[in-house]
């Protein structure tokens, strides 16, 4: 630490080599950059840059999320965070995004893959096991579980995927999203149609428009394939989330174009931009100079959307640590004009409050009241820019509340989702930038049939490579793993 560095906070991180817990100091240096400094007795001094702007980091970190501790059983603290997950009794946030890993099979071998997969005798979660996962989640949510994410591997390789989606819907979960690289969707239009009929949502990875970048990040040239998939998803009206992973110097200059494409496609409901993370079979050995912080992603978004979305248009999620999720909502102009950020007409605190109980905006009394307040304020202000906002809001209100008939809840959600789209930026952690302060507040968890839940970053860094269902040779605690990519399935069989 240099003489000009100022301490922001102390926390617990992990050694980048042995993954043992180590004390860490977060400081802002003379260049206004935020760094984490730590030292492992065995592997020495380590440091990683967390942010390029000290003021932004401190201002954002100071926002206290809504207190919402886990509702289910917790495990006693023994070894300390992040080694007692289940969650442990110190965990401070309930699950807002339950993630269920239903398969270890994958038909790609991405250099940025942040999990371990296994194609030899792949694991496919049984219906019975999945049912127990759902039952636990529904019980612990008090019957208010509104979304679930199925992931892998490549979930579309699960032989009973459609049945699993039906099981989730049968338990009252209305957003059932399925992560996908799109390979199978491009080959199987009938499957896209079935997913549409099941009201499933596809979370499609989409990193780049450039084939060279695609090869570097996904290990294959898939740009044309992804466009074909999007055409099919659009044709059948499958609700879609685009998931670009941002890496500095590779694709961060493309984020504006990806966002604009997502806003233009009617099937796309949200974009969830991830920062690259160095875990898993591919990610652990990926180019470390590509690390990009949350703020840098927000700044790239502002630059590459030419100010359509600004850094100041994002608010943190009240359900997570403020350095983990940043969220912007945009009102879509059905007459073809540029989308308008909610924060151009709504107070920051109001949007933040509306996001308190869900990861996504849901129709609610609070949201309706906030929108009415926003309309009145914009109307009273009467500025030149306000006229356009008012006209867009007017069209939305008249669609949501037609004078001669009432929309049911499902129809209201549809109208709302077509009228407003979200851009989420989600910053994952690896052993380098791991911060237990963030882990305590994680609302995304990998969920098991026995009721255990493990926050996803903890899971990716520490837990997945211990499971025989995901790796051929499960690791022991204290061993560094990664950089051992599996071979993809090609044509239904393992490649050679």
């Amino acid at each position: 630490m240099t003489a000009t560095a100022r301490l922001i906070n102390e926390t617990t991180s992990l050694c980048r080599t042995c993954k043992q817990a180590v004390a860490a100091r977060v400081v802002v240096d003379g260049a206004n950059e935020v760094w984490m400094h730590k030292r492992c007795d065995e592997h020495g001094e380590q440091r990683v840059r967390l942010s390029t702007n000290g003021e932004w980091y401190e201002r954002t970190r100071a926002i206290r999320p809504k207190s919402a501790p886990p509702t289910g059983p917790t495990r006693p603290v023994d070894k300390g965070c992040p080694f007692d997950c289940g969650p442990c009794e110190s965990h401070a946030q309930r699950i807002r995004m339950p993630v269920v890993t239903i398969t270890s099979a994958c038909d790609l071998d991405c250099p940025i893959c942040y999990v371990h997969n296994k194609n030899d005798s792949p694991f496919h979660m049984s219906r019975e096991e999945f049912g127990r996962v759902l039952d636990n989640l529904v019980r612990e949510s008090g019957g208010e579980l509104d979304l679930i994410n199925l992931t892998g591997g490549e979930p579309l390789l699960h032989p009973e995927l459609l049945s699993l989606i039906e099981m989730a819907h049968d338990r009252g979960i209305h957003r059932v999203s399925v992560c996908s690289n799109g390979v199978r969707l491009a080959k199987d239009e009938a499957l896209v149609e079935k997913l549409a009929k099941l009201d499933a949502r596809i979370a499609l990875s989409f990193d780049t428009f450039d084939k060279h970048t695609d090869r570097a990040m996904q290990g294959a040239a898939l740009v044309e394939l992804k466009h074909k998939v999007l055409t099919l998803l659009e044709r059948y009206g499958v609700d879609t989330t685009l998931i670009p992973v941002m890496s500095r110097g590779y694709n961060d200059h493309e984020i504006g174009a990806i966002i604009k494409m997502g806003l233009e496609l009617s099937c796309v409901r949200h974009l969830e931009v991830h920062t690259i993370t160095y875990t898993g079979q591919g990610g652990a050995s990926f180019d470390r100079s590509a690390r990009i912080s949350m703020l840098e992603v927000l700044e790239r978004i502002e630059e590459t959307t030419q100010g359509m979305l600004r850094v100041g248009d994002f608010v943190p999620s009240p359900s997570a640590h403020p350095l983990c999720y940043q969220i912007a909502y945009l009102l879509i102009d059905e007459q073809g004009g540029p989308p308008l950020s909610f924060l151009r007409f709504m107070e920051r605190d109001e949007l933040y409050a509306c996001l308190e109980d869900h990861l996504y905006l849901e129709p609610s009394a609070r949201l309706e009241a906030a929108l009415q307040d926003a309309i009145d304020r914009v109307w009273a202000r009467g500025g030149e820019d306000d006229e356009r906002a008012l006209a867009m809001l007017d069209r939305l209100v008249r669609t949501l509340f037609p004078s001669e008939r009432a929309l049911d809840t499902k129809a209201s959600i549809r109208v709302g989702e077509r009228a407003a789209k979200a851009v989420y930026v989600h910053s994952h952690m690896d052993e380098d930038n791991f911060d237990t302060e963030r882990a305590y507040l994680c609302c995304d968890s990998n969920c098991y049939a026995d009721g255990r839940t493990v926050p996803v970053c903890n899971y990716n860094v520490l837990y997945r490579d211990k499971e025989p269902r995901f790796v051929q040779a499960p690791q022991s605690w204290g061993a560094r793993t990664g950089g051992q990519r599996s071979l993809p399935i090609v044509g239904g069989r393992r490649g050679s």
């Binding site: 129709p363 009394a365 309706e368 009241a369 914009v378 209100v397 008249r398 509340f401 004078s403 929309l407």
Partner: protein
């Protein structure tokens, strides 16, 4: 259950859905001959007619038109009189409700709601009064709403229209009482059907908090009260406002 409206010749505006449909069915169940109007949705009107037939009246008169059209009002009343010889009761139920804050409330929105909810009541009442005055008997029932009182925040044009209907009811009751014609106002609270379904959630929550019975009403509950109010059982009730709102 005794039949309150045996043989009564009744015209109900806005009978294809919501409370208008429930009133049409209840009247038929009470032995009335039922005619109802609707504006646009023919399949809903056909469904109402089917339900009216099921409830006991084999041959309802179904009339399409807008209540803001004076010719339609006259034709509807004429159709009832020519089919059944007279008109005993008119229920002015057709209305529109539009959720708009004042900041988005344009002149056209205001005019439209006032035209349907107020002018429509005036046109149909005036058309029905000619045969009623000739017969020196009749009953007009207007449908108000709790939003004309200061209970919860309501769209101002809608609340204004329902307040106007209350004033119209009281004035008309005074004017035509001498002919033995009664005019009353029935003001339901939030119901499980019709216009209330389009209310924003925060307004609905506010309503349920303030309603002593903490529930919305059923259209059938209000329709029964409507049958009572136009029947001879309430022969000395005129110029009244009856609320069916769970005690607001």
């Amino acid at each position: 259950m005794s039949k309150l409206l045996e043989g009564a010749r009744c015209l109900i505006t806005g009978g294809s859905r919501g409370l208008g449909r429930a009133i049409s069915i209840a009247f038929a169940r009470h032995g009335a001959r039922v005619a109802f109007t609707y504006r646009r949705d023919t399949s809903s009107a056909e469904e109402s007619a089917r339900l009216v037939r099921e409830a006991g009246h084999s041959d309802p008169i179904v009339l399409q038109g807008t209540v803001t059209d004076s010719a339609h009002a006259k034709q509807a009343v004429d159709a009832v009189v020519s089919a059944w010889g007279a008109i005993d009761a008119l229920v002015n139920c057709a209305a529109v409700m539009q959720v708009l804050p004042i900041s988005l409330l344009e002149e056209q929105d205001f005019d439209n709601v006032m035209a349907v909810n107020v002018k429509g009541v005036y046109l149909f009442s005036r058309a029905a009064l000619r045969p009623m005055i000739r017969a020196k008997s009749g009953s007009i029932l207007n449908i108000g709403n709790f939003s004309s009182e200061r209970v919860i925040e309501a769209p101002v044009h809608y609340a204004a229209s329902k307040s106007a209907v209350r004033g119209l009811t009281e004035a008309l009751a005074r004017e035509v009482g001498r002919y033995g014609i009664r005019v009353n106002l029935l003001a339901p609270g939030m119901l499980d059907t019709g216009l209330a379904l389009g209310m924003p959630q925060h307004r609905m929550r506010e309503y349920l908090e303030q309603c002593p019975m903490h529930r919305v009403g059923r259209a059938e509950e209000v329709a029964e009260l409507a049958a009572f109010l136009v029947s001879s059982e309430s022969s000395f009730v005129s110029g009244a406002k009856l609320a069916a709102d769970g005690g607001l």
